[in-house]
């Protein structure tokens, strides 16, 4: 007859990789994957409004971010991209 002394504890989440130190002045190379209908339009609007942001971001347009594949992200990282921004 089970009378557990205490409710079992919850499993703990796996630890996340520690962030690396970044040297001063270092600028990441960022690739953005943007949905044609929203985030890509937002990037356009940023330009129309002449909002300034660092030029080290390039955008790849997707029909929908649902199209994004793991391998696209991994490929970019393998090729030395420092950050990926997926927006949709």
């Amino acid at each position: 007859m089970a009378v557990a002394e205490k409710a079992p504890e919850k499993a703990t989440a796996p630890s996340v990789e520690k962030p690396h130190e970044t040297p001063a002045g270092w600028e990441p190379n960022v690739l953005a994957f943007a949905c044609h209908y929203c985030a890509f339009a937002a990037a356009d609007l940023a330009g129309v409004m002449r909002l300034s942001y660092p030029p080290n971001v390039k955008i790849i347009r997707l029909p929908c971010t649902g199209k994004l594949d793991h391998i696209h992200i991994l490929r970019a990282f393998e090729r030395g991209v420092d950050g990926i921004f997926v927006a949709g």
Partner: protein, 1018 residues
């Protein structure tokens, strides 16, 4: 449809380029009519473009409307006349002659590319009307960044040159415009068009709250109107979306919204309800809170009119998730606290108690009214208006004006929100299609194209055109460097630069170059594909190339404009962007746009008012229609209705409709029938009925209707004194009951609505109660009526009847959901106890009749029909439309449309409008002989597929299906090219055309390859 001889014109005039006019215009232009759109402003868009977000989904207004504007702007059969007004109309339905006065723009739209160099240079700044005086614009300007057309216009009243009698001052815009588009000598002109029908959608004006000085608008800087607050919230507005006070740019914490400013008020304001303010105030308080968590919103209101689909839930979310405070109190005056800019509100609570409260900022929820010159406008078009200057329509013909062939959409017909306006837009389109059906296709233009060159198997010969865009790109990006760098790219055989790639002469140059250089792929480096891709695709198609052999590198919006003054890095980035486009271009293949035939017939499920209205409209458009009705007779829920709120005879109307349906040669009625199954897809459905017979059709309208809630509370079914509004209606209008003197009717509202398990407003019950109450009081003023309510929701012009009821002596007592009235049987009467919040004590009434205002429910078949067609129902069981704002009668699956109570509770006039809208939308499909399938779709490689069903389960459009052999196949007609299938497929059996994995990977590689030109990544 083949064009037959007719004296009717196949053109339509639409006055007003707001969302309602655009919807009507696109529906008509897409179904074989030529559209003239007359717009007073320099751009289409109307009111919606000024809004930041929309309720109740929080979608970005501009994101939704911008693609529609682009579509209208590019449509071959929509002719936009901006800065224009109609001066006269003659003729009759089918054959009107219209004179249009076009005000001088001073910029030649044929030459202007919209680059904006002129605007940047213009020295004259004036307050921006679009930003509601909170920001500034130039004398040469574009109304807003996404304006359509994007041709700039000069405001002659402020331009330094045009206000100079010699026209010698300034002329900077002329100097800077490389396209020579500026014309200071431009003149107003008048043109004449012939049209078969006219649609009026002139939009609205907003109540000017300065009329009420006690509220302080224009006097205290931190009191703003709700439309000003929209601009404050907007990321492209004067404060770039930062919520701040106009006086000192401080971030406000306590923000108050004051409702019904200029609405529901006979003194210095408008008596009607503006229908949308409760919801937009809720939306603004939520969005403000999302922008700045510190904001504490309070909404001062008298009645919460959250009557639309999912509106009540939205208000609950505002309260519970965002901490928005709602206070039932009247604000009598606002004054500024000296020195702080804060505002002290004097409020009177429900119990009459006065109090003061200080806020950092106040938003006045101003109401809608007809356009300023509505009277002259009505005269021009020869239509009648009601006493408030809105276009006069009837309950049963909600989009028809008093003049034959002239229709109305949007707020000119009465205050309403965006989806109701869009619905009316499609509704008028449906009505016009019916009116002008024989003239369909007589005046539309079709482009003749040369045959496509076969480039299969050829090595890529890519031509790259790098655009200066005046100085927009070239002032930041070194065009020559880009050209030189790209020349070294593999597969590129020709590179050149151009001042304006989109200008007509350069388009011709591009076409010539394609031929001269024998190009088989084209990349243009200029601006965003969202506005220009289609244009350039058409250009290369005209030169004989498949239009998918094109890519656009956006080096303006996403490069030069946001890296101004950083020429070196911007140039490098531009080179990368072009290389990425070239990398993709190398792998491009010509794509075929398949077409499928259309069966020009419709199936309407449900034979109530919605179904019959849809069927008649479609049949009048010339399409055979099958109505499937479960019941043994037509009529649906309307069989129990006698009068509409405005006193129209519903039974008479219903009888006429049924007779009309039965007599119509194109309509086949199947009563006592149900749909067993439907196979096929848009344009090509085949439905098997319960009788076993089959019907072929191209579109489906789901008009499965609703039911009334069967009450069990308040002694319903247990006491003979307790009846429903419907029973009472029957007594009053069917049995002509004359109430006795002193006979007391107590009505309880929201029975089975706005409470679990039906947490929504049934929209019709307030009006039913008031309709019946007025009838009682008119027949015997000495009979008594008490309406016990939560909020009276007589939105729009229905507010008049609420006032009439009060004037007739109907007593209104408010109750709270946690303090509901209590009912007991007391001999031959019932005793009703209710708490009065005004008197702060319990009231007791003995009633001869307790009348329950019962709510609406979706018809039980909604669920099974919904499941059969795989269309989603919301948690309340109503069909979920494709988009609550802009696609209110569509489903995500193409070819299926919704009308009536299956969609949400609504009044009869709204049901009729929606039914007309469904027929308008269906008409767009059925009017095509063939439907084109986009080239950008997912391609399925069956030999790789394991039939794991992941795609089938995640596809939002139902295009993958289990085929006859038990394995997955893909219906490309249904595919919208989103690529979710490609993302999830474990076998990589799906690839989206032009977004194939190898193309994306080529772009990734190009984006990260070394800076030196010509070095291709390994």
């Amino acid at each position: 449809m083949s064009a037959s001889k007719t004296n009717k014109s196949g053109s339509v005039l639409i006055v007003g380029g707001g969302i309602g006019g655009m919807q009507a215009g696109l529906d008509l232009a897409d179904s074989g009519f030529k559209v003239h759109m007359v717009q007073r402003d320099t751009s289409v868009g109307g009111t919606m473009v000024m809004l930041d977000k929309t309720f109740p989904t929080g979608d970005c207004a501009m994101c939704m409307i911008s693609p529609k504007m682009v579509e209208v702007g590019r449509h071959l059969n929509v002719n936009i006349h901006t800065l224009s007004e109609v001066t006269s109309v003659s003729g009759q339905a089918g054959d009107f002659t219209v004179k249009i006065r076009k005000t001088a723009r001073y910029v030649d739209p044929k030459k202007c590319t919209g680059c904006g160099d002129c605007e940047a240079k213009c020295p004259k700044k004036v307050p921006s009307e679009f930003d509601q005086q909170l920001g500034q614009r130039k004398a040469i300007f574009s109304l807003f960044p996404q304006a359509v057309p994007n041709t700039r216009a000069i405001d002659a009243s402020v331009c330094l040159c045009l206000t100079d009698p010699q026209k010698k001052r300034c002329r900077l815009c002329e100097k800077v415009c490389k396209a020579n588009a500026i014309n200071y000598e431009d003149k107003d002109q008048e043109i004449e068009v012939k049209v078969g029908s006219i649609i009026l959608g002139p939009g609205l004006a907003r109540y000017d709250a300065r009329v009420r000085p006690e509220l302080g608008l224009g006097r205290w800087p931190n009191v703003v109107s709700s439309i000003q607050f929209e601009r404050i919230l907007s990321a492209s507005g004067p404060y770039k979306g930062v919520v701040q006070r106009p006086s000192d740019q401080k971030h406000p914490v306590k923000v108050a919204w004051i409702q019904c400013v200029g609405s529901r008020d006979n003194h210095n304001a408008n008596p009607w309800c503006s229908s949308v303010c409760c919801m937009y105030a809720t939306k603004q308080s939520i969005i403000a809170k999302e922008h700045d968590k510190k904001i504490e919103p309070t909404v001062f209101y008298m009645e919460m009119r959250a009557f639309g689909k999912d509106f009540d839930k939205y208000v609950e979310r505002a309260k519970n998730d965002y901490g928005v405070k709602y206070r039932r109190a009247m604000v009598s005056a606002i004054r500024e606290e000296p020195g702080t800019g804060n505002l002290i509100l004097r409020t009177a609570g429900e119990d009459g108690k006065l109090s003061n409260e200080t806020f950092d900022m106040v938003v006045l929820s101003v109401g809608f009214e007809p356009h300023r010159d509505a009277e002259a406008f009505a005269k021009t078009f020869g239509i009648e208006t009601n006493e408030y200057r809105f276009a006069k329509t009837s309950h049963f013909t909600p989009v028809k004006t008093s003049r034959d062939g002239v229709f109305v959409t949007g707020i000119y017909q009465g205050p309403k929100d965006i989806p109701d306006t869009v619905m009316q837009g499609s509704g008028v389109a449906g009505s016009v299609m019916a009116l002008l059906s024989e003239a369909r296709g007589t005046e539309t233009v079709k482009k003749e194209l040369p045959p496509e060159k076969d480039v299969a198997g050829e090595a890529p010969r890519i031509g790259v055109f790098v655009c200066h865009c005046g100085t927009n790109i070239s002032s930041t990006v070194e065009i020559d460097q880009v050209v030189e760098s790209i020349k070294k790219e593999k597969g590129v055989t020709y590179v050149t630069n151009t001042i304006y790639a989109c200008a007509q002469d350069n388009q011709d140059m591009i076409k010539q170059t394609i031929k001269d250089q024998n190009l088989n792929r084209v990349v243009i480096a200029s601006c965003t594909p969202r506005t220009h891709e289609k244009l350039f695709q058409e250009t290369i198609r005209e030169a004989g190339l498949n239009k998918y052999l094109f890519d656009l590198a956006d080096i303006r919006e996403q490069c030069s404009w946001c890296h101004k003054g950083q020429n070196e890095v911007a140039t490098k980035k531009a080179i990368k962007i072009v290389r990425m486009a070239v990398a993709k271009s190398r792998l491009q293949e010509p794509l075929k746009s398949e077409t499928v035939g259309v069966t020009p017939a419709a199936l309407v499920i449900g034979g109530g008012i919605a179904g019959m209205t849809s069927a008649l409209s479609l049949a009048d458009q010339g399409f055979p229609v099958h109505i499937i009705e479960k019941d043994t007779e037509l009529g649906g829920l309307a069989k129990n209705l006698y009068r509409s709120l405005d006193g129209s005879d519903v039974q008479e109307f219903l009888a006429a409709k049924i007779a009309e349906v039965k007599a119509h040669p194109k309509i086949t009625v199947h009563t006592g029938a149900e749909v067993k199954k439907t196979d096929g897809f848009v344009g090509n459905f085949e439905t098997t009925l319960s009788s076993g017979s089959t019907v072929k059709h191209g579109a489906i309208v789901l008009a499965t209707g609703g039911m009334e809630y069967q009450p069990t509370e308040y002694l319903a079914g247990k006491s003979a004194n307790v009846i429903t509004q419907r029973d009472l209606e029957k007594k009053l209008f069917g049995e002509k009951l004359v109430p006795r003197t002193g006979e007391r009717f107590i009505m309880i509202q929201c029975v089975g609505s706005r409470e679990e398990p039906a947490q929504y407003c049934s929209r019709v019950c307030c009006q039913d109660a008031i309709k019946n109450a007025i009838a009682i009081k008119k027949r015997n003023p000495a009979a008594e009526v008490v309406i016990i309510y939560r909020d009276i929701r007589t939105y729009g012009l229905r507010e008049d009847y609420y006032k009439e009821a009060r004037d007739l002596g109907v007593l209104f007592v408010r109750y709270d959901v946690d303090r509901k009235p209590v009912v007991e049987q007391a001999g031959s009467k019932v005793l009703v106890k209710a708490w009065d919040f005004m008197l702060n004590r319990e009231l007791q009434f003995d009633a001869d009749w307790l009348v329950l205002s019962v709510g609406l429910r979706p018809h039980p078949s909604t669920d099974s029909v919904g499941a059969m067609y795989k269309v989603t129902r919301n948690p309340d069981g109503y069909y979920l439309e494709a988009h609550v704002k802009l696609r209110p009668v569509d489903f995500p699956s193409e070819g299926l449309f919704v009308a009536g109570l299956g969609h949400a509770p609504k009044n009869l006039d709204e049901t009729i409008t929606q039914a007309l809208a469904a027929s308008g939308r269906a008409g767009v499909i059925l009017s095509h002989e063939k439907l084109a399938v986009s080239g950008i779709i997912a391609k399925h490689k069956r030999e790789l597929c394991m039939s794991c069903l992941s795609c089938l389960r995640v596809c939002p459009f139902g295009s993958p299906y289990i085929d006859k052999d038990g394995k997955i196949s893909h219906n490309e007609v249904k595919c919208m090219g989103c690529g979710i299938c490609a993302g999830i497929c474990p076998a990589k059996a799906f690839q989206v055309n032009n977004f194939r994995d190898d193309q994306i990977i080529a772009m990734i590689d190009a984006a990260v390859e070394s800076e030196e030109a010509g070095v291709i990544g390994s």
